[in-house]
């Protein structure tokens, strides 16, 4: 090759670059181009290369250098060698004066690893346009390849993706030169894609090798080498790399993705997922192009590498002897039994026979609309016959239902749908309109009949009604029980909403556990005033209904509507949330005309959030003959345990909320969090009906699944001597005092038992390990303005606390979650208390979490 551009020999980076260990830097001479080229690399094991059991080969993109991998290198386990290369003309490697195209760069990397004598096992990790280079290398080294990690990269232009706008914008020659060589705009522009903004020292680190125009020449030629046109000289190389992905077979692959990337959007992630169907995926919704700067890519990658040798234990798939999810309602014997009574409309009730044929027709319609087994389908219909029939139809065709809580804020809902990226979205008009405005993914199917104009405005291709009418009968078996059935999004009240994956089998196991736990038989009938439970009636083959209510606002239920629902199905069971129960108890008198029907209810289930014993006791006014139960669990595993009101009263007060003994088949362990408090710690569960994994959150799943196969709940608690489990609060809400960790719930309950206290939050202020307890209360008759509580109330609170309480505040409203109206946002309360007690102004607490 003839030198046409600036030349400059390789050198070691200057001292003092943040996060870079100078001991890693070395210069390596490699025979290339008929001469010798010198690479600068970071090598964690330069002196003892032979002792490495595994080499992690780190490949940067443009504009960047090996600095990008500093955190990953620093965290590699013992015995793993990290080698991060600076490509020729990039970083601190030779400025050769030659243009390096993708094919050259792959050759360069191969020559370098030959020179380094890397012959043992290798995992590659790459970013940006380093991705194709690393894959090119990988395809030539399959026998020694143990894993592939790709971060925000691409091997192919996805069909629906316009070429990255930024690249296009800079491709006009003059603009390109100005941005890449004449100035550092291309580099600093890339920083702008970081969220939050990169700290100054890091920006300095990225810029260090690119201080002068001569040293930046390759940033331009790298951009020019991106084959946006079919006749581009690098197009065949890139196509070859893309096709070669198939060669990598089932080599373990991890895709780590920042989705706020203007260059490589989620479409590129989906393209890579299709090429590596077995890949583990972790997507960070908040992270940008330099995903490793915005999210903890290093520890995700390192944790993944650690488990490579061990291998992920296969998820247990005990399917024999289990009735599949849809079997009970397909049972001919109950064809004439009433399945669902619709309270909202004047619609007559429907039988299981009708429901089943309705599901078959709907399923046929969905198949006709192009929904295939494995397709993700977002379902946005309020609970009721339509919702149930459509959900079951989705399962019937083997598709995967994406279920997003209607109570989520629009922003959270959008984030959830962008993460799950359903191929189809079935919704009511309101959902379709929101989807249009918020640009939700998925081809639209309307749940209700629409005019042509409405369809166009809402972007709907079909409506369920017309699909049912036009479709041919479904000729397709039920899907295998281990197929994915649903991605259920968490409420987001205890952290960002995450998609939780379930297969048919696990949902069926959950249904069966609920049936056995509460002794549900075919003679029972159910009122579900809590949305998720609306599914259980039909799934259990029993008659059910949903009261006329806004299910996203459970606290708005009218007692008369509940009573009517109970009467309509002769309900023996009522499932409700604490917020609904509170409302019902307050207006119990409204239901006096239905006393007989209400007396028929034998089981009351309060679910969704912790409930006070006193509230359950008060429900006697409505359901004099019912035994109240409350299950403990989470979206990832429900139920874990359950307790009845008499047991709850018997348990008395203790270290939190008593949730009873573990349900049959559920194992519960306590993982201690402080050696001073053995027996108190994070609640870790294993159950046949628990989640599969979090969707596109490999690292989150990995961390929440320790030990392997278990689910870390993020709750803390302990067992009492009678084997009852007590939940003390969220791990993240634990107050770390000088004498040890304190769960907030026990004290909150004790304070709530004081006169005139409606709700209490216990939070910590100060540094972890020396935090002080602060109590914030909302009184029955709330105060107008936040203030320090009276000395009498402060004394009363200290009187019921085992630990010193430094301050007690009286506020007009504690922030609670939207869904349950009862989970306190302690993080917000803690931040507020921290500021006030540091001498900051006394502002009101946020109205809502």
């Amino acid at each position: 090759m003839v030198a046409v551009g600036p030349t400059d020999p390789a050198r070691l980076p200057p001292a003092g670059i943040d996060g870079l260990d100078p001991a890693w830097s070395r210069l390596v001479e490699v025979p290339l181009d008929g001469t010798t080229r010198t690479f600068h690399i970071l090598d964690t094991h330069a002196e003892r290369t032979e002792s490495a059991q595994l080499t992690v080969l780190c490949v940067h993109g443009n504009p960047s250098w090996s600095f990008l991998w500093r955190n990953t290198l620093a965290q590699l386990p013992d015995g793993v060698r990290g080698v991060a290369v600076d490509h020729l003309n990039m970083g601190f490697s030779d400025r050769t004066g030659t243009v390096r195209r993708l094919a050259d760069r792959i050759d360069d990397l191969c020559a370098l690893t030959d020179e380094l004598g890397i012959t043992g096992p290798v995992v590659t990790i790459a970013h940006d346009w380093g991705g194709p280079i690393s894959l090119g290398w990988a395809q030539r080294h399959v026998p020694q390849l143990r894993g592939v990690i790709l971060t925000n990269t691409s091997v192919h232009q996805p069909e629906d993706a316009s070429a990255p706008k930024i690249i296009r914008a800079t491709r006009s020659r003059a603009a390109l030169r100005r941005a890449t060589v004449d100035t550092t705009a291309f580099i600093t522009g890339a920083f702008e894609m970081s969220h939050p903004r990169l700290p100054k020292d890091i920006r300095k680190g990225f810029l260090a090798p690119y201080e002068t125009a001569d040293r930046r020449e390759a940033i331009q030629t790298f951009v020019e080498d991106i084959p946006l046109e079919d006749d581009h000289p690098t197009a065949p190389t890139l196509d070859g790399v893309a096709a070669g992905c198939a060669l990598l077979g089932r080599i373990p692959t991890l895709l780590l993705w920042g989705s706020r990337d203007l260059v490589f959007s989620d479409l590129y992630l989906h393209d890579l997922e299709a090429r590596f169907p077995h890949a583990d995926v972790h997507r960070w919704g908040h992270a940008g192009h330099f995903v490793g700067e915005d999210a903890d890519v290093a520890s995700a990658a390192v944790d993944w590498i650690r488990q490579l040798d061990v291998g992920t234990p296969p998820e247990p798939t005990e399917t024999s002897g289990i009735t599949t999810l849809l079997d009970p309602l397909r049972n001919e014997a109950i064809a004439d039994k009433v399945a669902i009574v619709e309270m909202a409309d004047a619609e007559p009730s429907i039988t299981f026979g009708y429901l089943n044929s309705h599901i078959e027709t709907t399923a046929a319609g969905l198949a006709h609309a192009g929904i295939e087994p494995g397709d993700r389908v977002a379902l946005m219909i309020p609970p009721g016959i339509d919702m149930i029939a459509t959900l079951f139809a989705i399962w019937r065709v083997g598709a995967v239902a994406v279920l997003v809580d209607g109570a989520l804020k629009p922003k959270q809902m959008t984030a959830a749908l962008n993460a799950a990226y359903p191929k189809h979205l079935i919704g009511i008009t309101k959902a379709l309109a929101a989807g249009r405005a918020l640009r939700w993914p998925g081809r639209r199917i309307s749940a209700t009949p629409l005019s042509a104009i409405q369809k166009r405005v809402l972007g709907a291709e079909h409506s369920l009604v017309e699909l049912r009418e036009t479709a041919l009968p479904l000729d397709q078996p039920l899907p295998p029980a281990d197929d994915e059935a649903a991605i259920v999004f968490t409420s987001g009240s205890t952290g960002p909403s995450k998609g939780v994956r379930y297969c048919h089998t696990r949902l069926a196991l959950q249904r069966d556990l609920i049936a056995s736990l509460y002794g549900i038989t075919s003679d029972d009938s159910l009122v579900a005033a809590f949305a998720p439970f609306a599914l259980y009636g039909p799934l259990l083959g029993i008659t059910s209904t949903v009261p006329d209510m806004d299910v996203s606002q459970p606290g708005s239920i009218e007692t008369i509507n509940l009573a009517e629902a109970v009467s309509a199905v002769n309900a023996t069971m009522v499932f409700a949330s604490p917020a609904a129960l509170e409302r019902l108890v307050d207006t119990a008198a409204d239901a006096r005309d239905y006393a007989n029907a209400l007396a028929n209810v034998r089981t009351l289930l309060s679910a969704g959030a912790p409930v006070r014993a006193s509230l359950l006791e008060d429900t006697k006014a409505l359901f004099p003959n019912a035994v109240a139960h409350t299950p403990y669990g989470m979206t990832e595993a429900l139920p874990v345990a359950s307790i009845s009101l008499p047991e709850l009263i018997d348990a008395g007060t203790g270290p939190g909320v008593c949730v009873g003994r573990p349900a049959p088949g559920v194992e519960v362990q306590i993982d201690p969090i402080d050696s001073r408090l053995p027996g108190f710690g994070e609640i870790v569960v294993r159950a046949p009906h628990q989640r599969l994994s979090y969707d596109r959150l490999w690292h989150t799943t990995h961390k929440a699944s320790q030990p392997a196969g278990w689910h870390r709940t993020g709750d803390v608690g302990r067992f009492d001597d009678d084997g009852r489990l007590w939940v003390g609060g969220r791990l993240g809400h634990v107050v770390w005092t000088a004498t040890g960790p304190v769960g907030p719930v026990a004290l909150e309950k004790a304070v709530e038992d004081l006169d005139d206290i409606y709700m209490a939050a216990v939070v910590g202020v100060g540094p972890v390990g020396n935090q002080q307890l602060v109590v914030v209360v909302e009184r029955m008759l709330p105060t107008q303005k936040p203030a320090l509580a009276s000395l009498e109330l402060i004394d009363a609170v200290r009187g019921v606390s085992d630990h010193d309480v430094v301050a007690v505040f009286d506020v007009s409203k504690l922030p609670v979650d939207r869904r349950h109206n009862s989970k306190i946002d302690r993080t917000a309360v803690a931040a507020w208390a921290e500021s006030v007690l540091a001498g900051g102004p006394l502002r009101g607490l946020a109205k809502e979490a």
Partner: protein, 323 residues
């Protein structure tokens, strides 16, 4: 043990001397005015007087040095003379006399200006970051004291934060006076969290420091009850205990700090020797959090507060009921 206690007329000094006597130590006291304390050998004079200091320290095993100029206002030279030079004189005399333990009473304000301190430990004294003559001179004196620590004469600095007690004229009586005069506003919201030390606990800690001195030479420890409270609650408890009416009224923080510095200037220019109603340092102190990590202190001294704040305020209340 033969122990010299300087400044034994102060609330805490007297209590330290009594504790030492009670357990059988031989106690010598040195202070400017005569005390009515019995069972002690007395020297009357200033710690700046090398002659009387060397007489008092002769034959002692240990020194607990509490004498200091503790005022909000005053001339810088007076602070230097008593707090810096006095400490220096005493240290030199103690060394000459072969004293084997030296406990120096200091203040958390030696390491900080007016910023919020939230759960922090004892930082090194730093005269450049302190505000006010008292804190600056105490910081210089603590640096001298700890630098003088040797294997033969280990020196430990004890920094009690905001000592309160029955018979306390420094804090309790000032608060009550102002509350009675209706000029005790809260600075800002009055909700900054502040550590205090019940005087009995501070005295216990001084004695504990004396006992543990050989292992802790050169170290400084912040002492508090470990029960931080809001300024609002502290004032309410104190006025409550004394049966003084007080209704919280708030002055914006910035106004108080600015006002404090105007008042200080006026007081300086007019050479008034009574106490100004507010200083900017005081305003900052009362509107920012000051509470400390007590784990290291408690572990090193083998000491924990015996009198809780609740019990302390109960004692205070009893005191005012009986007086």
């Amino acid at each position: 043990m033969r122990v010299l206690v300087t400044g034994a007329t102060s609330m805490i000094g007297r209590m330290v001397a009594e504790r030492l006597l009670a357990r059988g130590d031989e106690v010598t006291v040195l202070q400017r005015s005569t005390t009515e304390m019995t069972g002690v050998q007395q020297f009357n004079g200033s710690v700046t007087d090398a002659g009387i200091v060397s007489q008092a320290v002769a034959g002692q095993d240990a020194v607990i040095h509490l004498a200091a100029k503790v005022d909000i206002t005053g001339e810088w030279d007076d602070f230097v003379s008593v707090n810096v030079e006095g400490t220096s004189t005493l240290l030199a005399a103690a060394k000459t006399a072969g004293v084997s333990r030296f406990v120096y009473i200091s203040s958390p304000s030696v390491a900080h200006g007016g910023e919020s301190l939230i759960g922090v430990g004892a930082e090194p004294a730093d005269p450049d970051s302190t505000s006010g003559h008292y804190a600056t001179s105490k910081a210089m004196a603590e640096q001298l004291a700890l630098a003088a620590s040797t294997a033969d004469m280990p020196v430990v600095a004890i920094r009690p934060h905001l000592v309160i007690g029955v018979g306390d004229t420094q804090l309790v009586e000032r608060i009550l006076d102002r509350a009675r005069q209706g000029r005790l506003p809260l600075i800002g919201s009055g909700l900054a969290l502040i550590d205090t030390t019940w005087v009995d606990n501070a005295a216990d800690a001084m004695v504990a420091a004396l006992d543990e001195c050989p292992d802790l030479g050169g170290e400084a420890f912040v002492i508090s009850n470990g029960e931080p409270r809001t300024v609002h609650e502290l004032i309410a408890r104190i006025t409550n205990a004394a049966g003084v009416e007080w209704s919280p009224r708030s002055v914006p923080r910035k106004v108080a700090i600015a006002g404090g510095s105007v008042i200080e200037t006026v007081w300086d220019r007019t050479s008034r020797d009574d106490e100004p109603p507010m200083t900017s340092f005081g305003a900052e102190q009362l509107s920012t959090a000051h509470w400390f990590d007590q784990q290291r202190t408690r572990e090193a001294l083998g000491w924990t507060p015996k009198v809780s704040l609740a019990e302390g305020f109960e004692r205070l209340s009893e005191h005012y009921r009986n007086s």
